[in-house]
């Protein structure tokens, strides 16, 4: 999965995570980061992806007043100009509507997420 890096404030290792009572299953927990309590969202679980590895890093999202981070197993940054559109979006994904296109860069293929819709979906699901 990939999305526009302009939404990213910081990438952090997961550390001292507290679980959240009565939260949806895709909420990994909360974490303290410089006095802010970040709500951690397991992106794989939210997108209902099967067999995603356990998250190790949190991607802090730039979203007004919402201390929210997306948790994933690994992060890579690619140049958009190197990406080419490939094939069809994998329609079998439960949350396929959140994906805008399938892209390829040298050595990496990924689905491009409409991150605004993802974030709206997260906020709406609380």
């Amino acid at each position: 999965m990939g999305f526009d890096v302009s939404h990213v404030t910081e990438v952090l290792p997961l550390n001292a995570v507290a679980r959240v009572p009565w939260a949806p299953c895709w909420v990994s927990g909360v974490m303290n980061h410089q006095g802010r309590v970040l709500t951690l969202i397991d992106l794989g679980r939210f997108l209902e992806l099967a067999d995603t590895p356990a998250p190790t890093v949190a991607i802090l999202i730039d979203r007004a007043d919402v201390n929210l981070a997306l948790c994933v197993a690994e992060v890579a940054i690619v140049e958009a100009r190197d990406a080419v559109r490939i094939g069809q979006i994998k329609q079998f994904l439960p949350q396929a509507a959140l994906i805008t296109e399938a892209l390829s860069t040298p050595g990496l293929e990924f689905q491009h997420l409409d991150i605004e819709r993802v974030l709206d979906g997260i906020e709406g699901a609380f």
Binding site: A16, V17, A18, V20, P21, W22, Q34, G35, D65, V66
Partner: protein, 770 residues
Amino acid sequence: MDLTRYRQLYVSETHENLEKISQLLVELESRPDDRRVIDIVFRLVHSTKGMSGTMGYTPVFELAHHLEDLMDRFRRLQVPMSPAVIDVLLAGVDRIGLWLGDVEAERLPLRTDQAATTLHRRIEELLEGRLEDPPTLAPHPRGTTPSPAVPGPGVPAPGDVVITVEMDMKCPDPGLRGYLLHKKLMDLGRVRGVVPDPQVLRQGIIDGPIRFVMQSALDVSQIEGYLSLMPDLARVQVRREDLPRTERAAPADARVSVAEPPPEAATDEPELVFSDDFDVLPAGRVEPSPSGDRAAAVVPALDAGASAPGPIQSAHEFNEFDFEDVLGDMEREPAPLHAPPPRRSPAAPTAARPAPRNAKTAETPDEPDEGAAMGEAAIVHAPRMTRSVRVRTDWLDGVLNRTGDLLIIAQRLWNRNQDDPNPAMTEALSELSRQLSALHQDALSVRMTPLSVLTGRMPRAVRDMARRTGKRAQLVTQGDDQQLDRAIIEGLDAPLTHLLSNAIEHGIEAPESRERCGKRPVGTITLTCTRVRDEIVIEVADDGGGVDRAKLAERAVEMGLLTRARAEALAARDLGRLLCLPGLTSRDEPGEHAGRGVGLDAVREMVNTLGGLLTVQSEAGRGTTVRLSLPRAPGISKLLLVEADAQVFGLPLARVINTEMFEPAAGTPPTVDHASGRLRVHELRALLGRPLDPEQEEPTPGSTFPGVICHGDDGSFVLRVDRVVGQQDAVMKPLGPLLERIDGLLGVTIDPVGKPVFIVDVACFVMRVG
């Protein structure tokens, strides 16, 4: 000039004005001839009008202007206000409040509507005496008007200074400059009237000379000198109306007695527009005149030098800063416009002797100051210093959060140092913690607000609700000067309003019923606020008929909410819980504000969210008391930390009765036997959806577990935990917009290793886990 930066300030100040006006109008209803209150209301309306005009909010300005006219009529005629007039005034206040909402939401420009038009028409009818009451409201022909205390605001009285000014029409904005001149003249004394209306001038409209009538202690020549320094004035004429001989000693700016009609003023004078700002008047002492006239002579305020003539020290040109001055009135606390009077010294005979306008009459000398008479005094433009500033509340929240974070970091540093203690570091960290604690306390203190900011507008609410329900009720408040954190104050607004409406709709009986029971026809609702250690206890008590427990229990059974046995048990022992059952009402027909079965349960939920408790007591025929126990400040919470499933949680100490090791009793649901009786056991692990294995849950003889006895809304219960960690004063952090949607979480704090710890609402927890 960009006025938008003053918008928030305008909204805040005008809201305050409206609240005060509402409160005072309700007071007027019981004391309709209280001149002092009428004067204050008039001033507040006047101030609202002025600010609205300056900001360009025309519909507000126009309505305030009209309301001011109505107030002025009562103020001048000195007749009591009828409830119908107060209704109209309150409706006007409400309409302005709606416009303020539009300003806040930036729905601009403001638009007038049918309701406002109707209101204007009603005011007009009242002014013309067509709507009600009337003889007192009907306009009187000139010369037959009942004598007001002072001459009409624009009619020169003996001693008044009349200034006629022709603006240089070639200068830019002569009208606006005329308006600013009016503001400047207010520094020289009390401007009683201006033609044309200053608000017309403010809009730049001018078609002739401007005429000011004012009271001033300055000589005509001094005023002329002052005006000569003003640019853009083509021609100036200053004269003083002759004083009767016996009154010459009195400074012209002193307050005039209220006892006797003034001498007949020249009736050919055009009616001037009232425009003074009389809350900066110097207080004058009123004494009977030597001649025995009922018209009193007036002695000077505080210090004859206070407003005595003297050389003019400053007069500056009009520029944009004058606009700032105009708006600055909105920014400043009421403060003397003149510097405090310096102690006079023979060595400094020419020192400025500024005039404290709010001088105390007790200090008033009988004779004018000799030095003042010699012209030693001077008018100074005092530094407009204030002892307080307005601060946006979200900034205060930010300061509190930041200091809380610093405390947490200091604690983490302390813990880290304990691994390998360094004496110098230990000492430094101790000092750091002390200072940060003090800073945090300061941050909490500045957020503290008296409860009166809420209760101030409640008499109006009670009045309105009582009128709508055909009942008579009065609100008595006690202890509302208690300071609470602003978050608590904000959270209490809706619950208290609801409790008051409940008291009127359900508690207070109709006047005739009350009289049949030997009660006064006017019911009393008492709102009491007391501080008990770290808690604030607010009670809303009515002297109504009390709750019909049997009827309420029966209704709960009819509605299928409870079994009969349970309903009767609750009615006898736990009325609060019964009343808080969602959907339950004892009313056959719902009222406008209560009786729909939504409310008290929501009140309890809101109080719980604030970390408080709600209890109810009621006695048939004597009334009902709802008691809210609340933390005084939510910034720091006293918590009991407990562990379950390898995670630490905080429980508000207010909810904790005790911690013990318990031996489980046999049977389901799980219980324990305790000195207070058999208590239900709930597992804290259920918070995370992972209760103990049934096998583990099966009690074995002699096995024990740690537990916490907690206050629940349905009585006490035991919370089974894995470990009791201990007590802690924790800095609460907000949950944020996502997590705060999860019921049962009160907040979050950070433990010494930097891990978040959730604070759990145990009452909600029990409801959720069943």
